[in-house]
């Protein structure tokens, strides 16, 4: 980031607060949120206060769950384990050590964070339903253990919170105090959720949820990002659990570690809109009062009724509104709100200045492969390939279909670990190093595109490019400025707000290049970026690749478009059957007998009399 842009961003944040408060999106949200506090306080009815405390608790739980279930797309159905851990830790610390719940709840949160990390790390690689099942299994294990160790937890009989009144002990005879705390927790949770959503972490979580491979190529460590989400979510859930236990004054394993409640919390998010900031609150506000009223009116007759309604609503929502209320109606409501006073302002867009010129001596080795061998069962896809990529060159890789070109790329970018042989990249201090993971390669400056394009379909074009830009620019505004510059370079500026899944293939190929380019790589691995482009787009791509090289980036490109690759490359490597059969100047290589044979067959070579 240049000094100029740093100064610019601090200037906007100075007058930012007032500017934000006059933005209708902000003041409408704040007004709506304050209703959760104002309605019960004005009414003064104990029943309403109870209902709103419950709303605050469940909205906060659902908002916390949404960080993992929505943003990260990891559908935890065992989230109440963190709630229970917070609750039991706090209650036991009061009972045995006389520790105030204000401190105990944070100890509970830390324990929940540790448990979340221990569970999350191994389970994150499980696919959708199996992740959900494993979280259910963990919840059941913890619940059964809580029942088993009677001496510690009170077992099935439960545990009563020591009733010492006052703020220090979080137990009150005046129920409005509970409402203040519950509302505070709701604000805290929504604040954290909003902060994540609008930060680099939020974008990264979306990227990981949408496409793990493309996220890795953008230098994102999938497990780190998910781990952060689950730890934050678990801590918030534990804090809320601790408070709720103080409110209920009674803990038993069946309600503290309940699968049913875990599902309910997830359901509120789904109804409101998975992965949205306001969704979980909205879902809770709609459903909880109905359930509480039904319980109040019908009493024991309603046994099972609210669960039946919950289940049915859940099925209906998945069939009719899978994006939830916010996901479906959000954009429309947002346009209405923009018509209010002060609305519709768009901050001026900033375009980042051109990229620094890369340093390093031209022609020095920047990436080397030594005797690479890659075997898939009996098939040898890469057979003893040694390539040295020199800084500043454009290296073309050609070869017939199935020759093993993409497999080679996958090894050069860390997506495949070679069976034998090594890949090494020039590190920051000039030494050659081998990163351990694809995101490690990306951080060292190896940027790659995918032959089968991997856009983040639900993100806009500019957001897709920002995912790449975040690698070197953690600040959202800076990343956006860089992304705008790159979008202009590849000719996607006009489509910057289009959702990526709506782009035609030619534009998707350019987006693929743009996202990689935004990560400001030293080495750019391009896998058939000209396939699917029309004539004029191809010309533009050739020009683009040249101009990228002129900024000092080293390019290595797999291509089937012979005319383009021959005119572009300084050097050509030909791969056939996993082996390197020719290497050298483009004009020499095309005349090589082995190369013609590989493409056109032996008969052709003989007939032409080479």
């Amino acid at each position: 980031m240049t000094q100029q842009s740093a100064a610019a961003s601090s200037a906007t944040s100075g007058s930012g607060l007032l500017l934000q408060l006059t933005n209708p999106k902000v003041y409408v949200s704040l007004l709506a949120l304050s209703l959760v506090l104002v309605i019960p306080l004005v009414s003064g009815s104990p029943f309403l206060i109870h209902v709103f405390v419950t709303i605050c608790v469940f909205a906060a739980l659902s908002t916390a769950w949404n960080i993992v279930g929505g943003y990260a797309g990891q559908l935890s159905l065992g989230h109440m384990m963190f709630y229970g851990i917070g609750a039991y830790t706090t209650a036991l610390l009061i009972q045995h050590f006389g520790l105030t719940p204000w401190i105990g709840m944070w100890i509970g949160a830390v324990i929940a964070a540790v448990v979340a990390a221990l569970i999350g790390y191994p389970c994150f690689r499980l696919r959708g339903p199996f992740f959900s099942l494993s979280t259910i299994a963990f919840l059941e294990v913890i619940r059964l253990l809580a029942i088993h160790f009677v001496g510690f937890t009170g077992g099935s009989a439960g545990l009563i919170v020591p009733l010492k009144l006052g703020w220090a002990w979080m137990v009150f005879s005046d129920k409005t105090n509970y409402l203040y705390i519950a509302f505070g927790l709701l604000l805290l949770t929504i604040g954290v959720s909003l902060a994540i959503r609008t930060s680099r972490l939020g974008y990264y979580l979306t990227a990981v949820r949408e496409r793990e491979d493309a996220a890795l190529a953008a230098g994102i460590s999938n497990s780190d990002v998910k781990l952060k989400a689950v730890i934050v979510s678990a801590m918030l859930t534990a804090l809320i659990g601790a408070f709720h236990a103080m409110y209920l004054t009674f803990l038993e394993p069946a309600t503290m570690f309940s699968l049913g409640t875990s599902i309910e919390v997830a359901m509120f998010s789904l109804i409101g809109g998975l992965g949205t900031v306001a969704g979980p609150l909205l879902g809770t506000v709609l459903v909880v009062p109905l359930a509480e009223l039904a319980r109040g009116w019908l009493g024991a007759q309603a046994n099972g009724l609210h669960g039946f309604v919950y289940g049915t609503v859940l099925v209906l929502i998945t069939l009719t509104l899978p994006a939830g209320l916010v996901g479906t109606f959000g954009p429309t409501v947002s346009r209405w709100i923009d018509r209010l006073p002060g609305g519709g302002r768009r901050p001026a867009e900033r375009i980042a200045p051109a990229l620094r010129k890369l340093e390093g001596a031209k022609g020095e080795p920047i990436l080397t492969t030594k005797n690479l061998v890659m075997q898939f069962g009996g098939l040898t896809a890469t057979d003893n390939v040694s390539i040295t990529l020199k800084r500043g060159e454009i290296l073309g890789i050609i070869g017939p279909n199935g020759a093993g070109k993409t497999t080679l790329f996958n090894q050069m970018s860390g997506f495949l670990i070679p069976t034998s042989g090594t890949v090494a990249v020039a590190g920051p201090n000039g030494a050659m190093v081998t990163p351990a993971s694809p995101d490690g390669f990306a951080r060292l400056g190896v940027g790659r595109t995918f032959q089968i394009v991997q856009p983040f379909g639900r993100l806009s074009v500019i957001e897709n490019i920002m995912i790449g830009a975040f690698l070197r620019h953690p600040n959202v505004q800076d990343a956006r400025a860089v992304a705008l510059r790159v979008a202009a370079t590849v000719g996607l500026l006009d489509q910057k707000d289009v959702e990526a899944r709506n782009l035609p293939i030619g534009a998707l190929k350019r987006l693929e290049v743009a996202r990689t380019l935004a990560s400001e790589p030293d080495i750019l691995l391009l896998d058939e970026v000209m396939a699917g482009q029309n004539q004029s787009d191809t010309m533009r791509m050739v020009e683009l690749i040249r101009s990228i090289r002129d900024t000092g980036v080293t390019v290595i490109a797999i291509e089937h478009n012979m005319q383009a690759i021959m005119s572009l490359s300084d050097r050509i490597v030909v791969i056939d059957n996993g082996r390197m059969i020719a290497e050298g100047d483009p004009r020499e290589v095309v005349k090589d007998r082995k190369v013609i044979e590989a493409y056109l067959g032996e008969d052709f070579v003989d007939a032409q009399g080479f």
Binding site: G69, G73, L75, L77, P122, C123, R125, L126, R127, G128, P129, F130, S132, L133, S134, I136, A137, F138, E140, V141, L144, L145, I147, H148, L259, G260, I263, A266, M267, L270, L274, N303, G304, L305, H306, G307, F308, Y310, G311, T312, V313, L314, V315, I317, T318, L319, P322
Partner: protein, 290 residues
Amino acid sequence: MDVLIQLLINGIMLGSMYAIISVGLTLIFGVVRVVNFAHGEFLMVGMYAVYLLFAKLGVHPYVAAVPVVILLFLLGVLIQRFIIQPLLDADEHIQIFATVGLSTALVNLALMVFGADLYSVSAPDLRQSLRLGPYTVLVGQVVMLAASLALVIGLHAFMQTTALGRAIRATAQNRTAALLMGVRVDRIYIISFGLGAACVGLAAALVSPLFPATPTVGTYFVLTAFVVVVLGGMRSMYGAFLGAMIIGLVDSLSAYYIAPDLKEVVYFAIFILILIFKPTGLFGFGRGTE
């Protein structure tokens, strides 16, 4: 020694019960590729149906198997057609929510209709003990073992020898290719889901004499069934059968040697370890869970 052998016998008997419940789950996952969280509730519905036939009409539970299997087949068909099929191309988490929602709705529907009371089918002939030297088993358990073996072998034969079975296997392996070969994939999915549910109908008839029906009986069994299916490698009938036997033995042994209320902890621990370290299942059948 006697105790150990009795425990092993109990384990195998328990295993055959888990096997007969898990076979349908394997079938549905293997073909439709949907993890059916409402599977246990199918069992619950079947058990209430068996109970009603027994209590109102005096039908023996084993005779009740015939109408209950048909009922569950139809239930499966309707659920596949109207809930799962519209969501086949939706995100995985939407499918999870749909079957979780279905499960919640069915449990609570049962609670509204039948209350929380236990309903037992009294079939004294099936609860009789058979003596084998110093060891005992219940008649109903022996029937269950025989039935679960017959079901697994029968389903396997059906899949291998009939045209429909081949179409189901083709669909399971590659939906698009099957479609291109003229297999009506939607219909295969509906039939497979129906068959999976029908297997649970059979299980309900066999389990009813030994276990009372409650709204949550399905939740109790389905988690075990998931453990079994994951252990067996997700898509293999025989894998599921072996997985069920292992869980049956673990259940029986750990209840005695560790603590009765911790047996589930033991097999959930196995479940989690398998998911993490050997996602293709214990025997390497199937393609696993990643």
